[in-house]
């Protein structure tokens, strides 16, 4: 059992690093394709209702990771709650926005594109692309391309979140995972007859949990 646990732990920890690299690669490519000054991915932290920098390419890379701000502020917050992508040009004219943007990006962008990261029913975060070249007029083609990057980023973010949850479960020594691990250990040591009976019990438990887990307490949009 300890082997199994170590294997699962290695998988969860290793994959977290891989998914983070994948997310970083996505913002790097998005920045390069759009010829932008920066690109970033924000994760929506449901427990604190905040947006957190998960990946940054270009300006602000290396400094902004982990910084957080309330989910209802700024363009990223607006995109998250409305579920609608948004493109804004000529931002620097607006001092209030400039201040807000500087807080959330580290510099004052001239313009930005932001798109919600939607995976299945959930809005996981926001992808932003900041300061495309001035001469490139925005068109629906860019919006479509942005949507494609958003799909990729949403999948990577979902995997990253799952890997983190798996790690948290494994690290929780006295919690459910530890109890399950002990159970698995006993099961491995049991006589064939005992194991068969235990197997039936577990199947019954699984059926019971399956029948009673239909309700969701999440009431965000």
């Amino acid at each position: 059992m300890s082997d199994l646990r170590a294997a699962v732990a290695a998988g969860a920890l290793g994959s977290e690093e891989n998914y983070r690299e994948l997310l970083q690669a996505i913002v790097e490519v998005a920045r390069a394709i759009f010829g932008a000054r920066a690109s970033s991915v924000f994760l929506h932290d449901e427990s604190t209702d905040e947006l957190v920098f998960e990946a940054v390419a270009g300006e602000g890379a290396g400094e902004l990771i982990g910084q957080r701000f309330p989910s209802s502020t700024g363009v990223a917050g607006w995109v998250l709650v409305t579920r609608q992508p948004l493109v804004i040009d000529e931002l620097e004219q607006d001092p209030r926005f400039a201040r807000e943007a500087a807080e959330s990006t580290g510099f004052v962008p001239k313009g930005l594109m932001a798109v919600p990261l939607l995976h299945e029913e959930r809005a996981l975060g926001v992808l932003e692309v900041l300061d495309r070249p001035q001469q490139a007029a925005f068109s629906l083609k860019e919006m479509e391309l942005l949507g494609l990057f958003a799909n990729e980023a949403a999948i990577a973010l979902d995997l990253l979140q799952r890997a983190r949850e798996a790690r948290a479960v494994l690290e929780e020594q006295d919690g459910q995972a530890a109890a399950l691990a002990r159970l698995a250990e006993r099961l491995a040591e049991a006589e064939p007859e005992q194991r068969e009976a235990a197997q039936r019990l577990l199947e019954a438990l699984e059926a019971f949990l399956g029948a009673s887990s239909g309700l969701s307490l999440d009431d965000s949009l």
């Binding site: 309330p70 948004l86 493109v87 000529e90 001092p95």
Partner: protein, 276 residues
């Protein structure tokens, strides 16, 4: 044309010889033109509700509001609708209100704030706000937002249908990504995506739904917080263009049901009979 009984009440059946009881309150011309549909209309007499992040009062592109409320969740989980003193927290609602005002200068604008208090709890607040707005009997409700949560879909569907039968037109932003979201996917609402033309009155019917209409959504000058403006793109801004055009049509033809209104939009769309 005279109505028998209250036209806003449903007729459940039609006895022989009583077709007059459901006489249509609109004289339809042989060919529906834009001039007939909304030529010279200012939107006067029509109420438009912006269900969004609030609206900045006194913004030069928005003008006066006839009402502004905020829907909030109390600590014990109930929903409250209160007068809104805060205005707009992010600018989205103000932008939508400005677009409606620009095209339909004399509409009565109302703001129902359902965004801005964080992401959590936003589902029930949105539903509560929509229900409240439908109960007020607004002629047009602009929804430049959507939800991806299936748990809200059924209730939203019921609300959209109840609006449809109460002659409240719901105009909702479509998604430009292949995701399931609501309420724009419901056929009882008017769903809107973007086209790239710079004409605010240009709109197109889409024969390949679920998105039903395309309106101006790229490079739009929008009202921004602090009395300013900014250039922006997104279906969020295509939607109030159609909401405003609906208001212009209803101002001239107040008896139209949402079904009839959608027909007028279809018949006057640039790619059908309008704009020529």
């Amino acid at each position: 044309m005279e109505h028998f009984g209250d036209p806003s009440l449903p007729a459940w059946s039609l006895p022989a010889g009583s077709a007059e009881r459901i006489a249509i309150g609109v004289e339809w011309p042989e060919r529906v033109t834009r001039d007939w549909a909304f030529g010279d209309s200012t939107g006067e007499g029509v109420s438009v509700c912006i269900l969004d992040s609030g609206v900045e009062r006194g913004h030069p592109l928005v003008g006066e509001l006839e009402g502004a409320v905020a829907v909030m969740k109390t600590e014990d989980g109930r929903l409250e609708v209160n007068e809104d003193a805060e205005g707009d927290l992010c600018g989205h609602g103000t932008a939508c209100a400005g677009i409606v005002r620009a095209l339909a200068p004399k509409v009565g604008l109302h703001s129902v704030r359902v965004l801005g208090a964080g992401f959590k709890g936003s589902g029930p607040v949105l539903l509560g706000g929509l229900r409240w707005a439908i109960e007020q009997g607004f002629d047009v409700i602009n929804m430049s937002l959507s939800t991806t949560k299936r748990q809200f879909a059924e209730l939203l569907h019921e609300l959209a249908d109840s609006a449809y039968f109460r002659r409240t037109v719901l105009v909702a932003s479509a998604h430009n990504m292949p995701v399931e979201s609501y309420p724009w996917r419901f056929s009882s609402v008017i769903s809107v995506g973007s086209h790239e033309e710079q004409d605010s009155l240009a709109f197109f019917y889409n024969p390949a739904p679920p998105v039903e209409f395309f309106a101006r959504g790229v490079g739009v000058e929008i009202a921004w917080l602090g009395g300013g403006t900014i250039r922006s793109s997104g279906n969020s801004f295509a939607t109030p263009h159609i909401a405003a055009i609906c208001a212009l049509i209803l101002s001239k033809h107040p008896d139209l049901t949402p079904f009839q209104l959608k027909n007028v939009l279809y018949l006057t769309a640039n790619n059908v009979g309008g704009g020529r």
